[in-house]
């Protein structure tokens, strides 16, 4: 169980890190939509519409690290069952 939780913690951090990097390494807050600008040719005004898009930010990374920390902390309450069996 200890090992499973530690692997899970590592997976959470890695998945979050890869997702963050793959979506452009946004160093701001997480966004669920992004502004899209379109030029009105007649007036010259740049219209702004919002397109739904998940863009993880530093809070997303922080939450993933906190979650991984919790999993690692929980794993400390479990003994290494494999080693115990060997000792017996």
């Amino acid at each position: 169980m200890k090992r499973i939780l530690q692997i899970l913690a590592l997976a959470v951090v890695l998945t979050a890190g890869v997702t963050w990097l793959a979506t452009g390494a946004n160093r701001g807050w997480t966004k669920t939509s992004v502004p899209v600008k379109t030029l009105d040719a007649v007036t010259g005004i740049e219209g702004i519409t919002y397109q739904k898009k998940f863009l993880p930010g530093v809070d997303f990374l922080g939450a993933a690290i906190a979650g991984a920390g919790l999993l690692t902390g929980t794993s400390l309450f479990f003994r290494k069952s494999h080693k115990n069996k060997q000792n017996k």
Binding site: R27, G28, W29, T30, K31, T32, S33, V34, P35, T38, D40, V42, T43, G44, I45, E46, G47, I48, T49, Y50, L55, G57, V58
Partner: protein, 201 residues
Amino acid sequence: MKLTHIIPLLALATVACAAPQTFDFKDPKGVNNAVFNLDAPLESVNGSANGISGSVSFDPENPAATTGKIVVAAESLTVPNPMQKEHLHGANWLEVTKYPEITFEAKSFANVKTDSNVTSADVSGTFTLHGVSKDLTVPVKLTYLKDKLSARVPNMQGDLLVIRANFAINREDFNIQKGQYEDKVSPTINLTLSIAGAAAR
């Protein structure tokens, strides 16, 4: 027809052409927008609003006489972060259900300079936000696009008036978190207005 009859008719036509036109700023294309920006330590808060309406009376022969009122629906203010948007609309910030409109009512123009179809001026008027009204003077640029409505809205004849303005307000002047969170969100709100109104014939 006698000349004595034609002259008054011509004079009437000239007056009719020179009369101020009323431009409606409810844009069917949804392009009109007000952009806002507040500086913050991690990332500045950038958003926009497209719920624009209102009307402006503009006379191309006398831009200094322009008057009108522009209304922004507070609920249309959008930021890309859902939690920030919830806070922005909520009871601690803009209270959009209690104060649904942000308005600017233009009362007088000064320093009017017209070059071809573009007029720049300083507009004095009343800006209302969060239920607080304050007199402001804002630099604006008006672009009069004669007969351009049909290029934007097919089968409609008329003119367009584009208004652009950049100005800053202090959120504390409008009782928005007065003296609060100054280390997290700047008290200065930068506003950029880009809107087009139509006067159909």
